[in-house]
């Protein structure tokens, strides 16, 4: 069973309003006793310990690094590991999953994107994330929820639809490409986000023709997504994507660009949006791929 759609007026303007829920909606569901297996709330943060300091009552935790990444190969977990992970959290194939997290839902969007690789149908974000829930003085608890594990089917991960690899990006050059990193990462003066640790890219710069729209541009000051109109102005007009039928977004390891992927795919309704998770840590270290430095997108090199 799934939970009802949040009928908020703000969401109705988005292409897929069913992908967002408001804090009021979630509160009402929790107050009404809606829970697993109809609805499971998942917290996904950058900080692996933030959930333990207090989380939405009943919420389970999924960590991007220790849960979703394969521990050995640079890839995501496979269908068996995913089934074990989410089944162990009380999530069934038809459960409504609402994900929220810190930093404007940065990591929550990443987790949602990974759920999408496994074709989990009903997965939504809590608009405003953890910060808004706390700002509204809603309940937090340190109590670990009692979870009844359920059987989740082993589904083969399907990367084609929403995930791009390096060769896909090379073949894509000339079509809309969005670099969602900070300006200094884009122009090549840094290889990691300001305030973040160095994480191996040998060269600085960006993929030729990519426009720079830092991911957090999509968020309002309170951490919620900007309105449909504002987002259209940023991406459709500002990034010149127009009605493009294929868009690829990237960042450093694919987490910030998951957030932009969510905006393009679910809020603005672009149908063919892929996240290049290899992103700059791959491209900036790969041999003989074209790179542009400076603040201009640059042109496609002759090949």
């Amino acid at each position: 069973m799934t939970a009802p759609v949040d009928p908020s007026e703000k969401f109705a303007a988005y292409a897929h309003p069913e992908r967002l829920v408001s804090t009021e909606w979630l509160q009402a569901q929790l107050d009404a006793g809606t829970g697993a297996p109809d609805l499971v709330v998942v917290e996904s943060d950058e900080d692996v310990l933030l959930y333990e300091t207090g989380h939405i009552p009943g919420a389970v935790k999924i960590d991007w690094h220790t849960d979703l990444n394969d521990p050995v190969q640079r890839d995501y977990i496979d269908g068996e590991a995913f089934a074990r992970l989410v089944g162990g959290k009380g999530i069934a194939r038809d459960t409504t999953v609402v994900i929220y997290g810190d930093k404007n839902n940065w990591w929550a969007a990443y987790a949602l994107w990974v759920f999408t690789l496994f074709g989990h149908e009903d997965v939504r974000l809590l608009d405003g994330g953890r910060a808004k829930w706390i700002a509204e003085d809603r309940a937090l608890t340190r109590e670990q929820p009692t979870v009844t594990p359920v059987e989740y089917p082993v589904v083969e991960r399907s990367d084609e639809g929403v995930r791009a690899f390096k060769d896909d990006v090379l073949a894509h050059l000339g079509k809309p490409l969005i670099d969602v990193r900070s300006a200094p990462e884009y122009d090549g003066s840094r290889t990691t986000a300001p305030d973040y640790p160095e994480e191996g890219a040998l060269r600085g710069g960006h993929i030729p023709t990519a426009v720079n729209i830092p991911w957090a541009t999509a968020a309002a000051p309170d951490g919620t997504f900007k309105s449909r109109e504002e987002l259209d102005a940023v991406y459709r007009d500002g990034a010149g994507i127009g009605d493009a039928d294929e868009v690829i977004a990237y960042c450093r390891i694919g987490e910030r660009s998951s957030h932009t992927w969510f905006v393009l795919q679910h809020l603005l309704g672009y149908e063919n949006v892929r996240n290049y998770d290899g992103s700059w840590t791959e491209w900036g270290s790969a041999v003989r791929v074209p790179i542009v430095q400076g603040s201009e997108p640059g042109t496609i090199p002759n090949r």
Binding site: D47, V48, L49, L50, E52, D102, P197, E199
Partner: protein, 149 residues
Amino acid sequence: MTDAPLPTALAEIRDDFLELSQQDRLQLLLEFSDELPALPERLRGHEDELERVEECQSPVFITVTVGEDGDAPGVVRMHATAPREAPTTRGFASILAQGLSGLTAEQVLAVPADYPLTLGLSEAVSPLRIRGMVGMLGRVQRQVRAAVA
């Protein structure tokens, strides 16, 4: 690097972690995080004068004193501050502050650079995040080295 035995406080912290299951190790890290002492009064409001730990993803600032605030000459004390929203970083800082404060400068400098990797947190927290603590230890040692030079 020397072969000096690990100071007792650091050895005990390590053993406490290694005794626990992965999930309980996170809980212990949370306890450390909760216990990070506030900065002494004279440093409050001057966070920007402290050294920022670039290896950590969250803003964390550290400073080290040697033989100040009533400590015997040559005794090290580490102070750190990090926001509540960054509990992992606070936990790392708290482990080092508790484990290093009270040691002599010589003892602090003898702590192996890979001490954070021995706490058994790589699986629960991820190796990438542990690197932040390695960076923090390195910065403490550099400050101590500068203070006694």
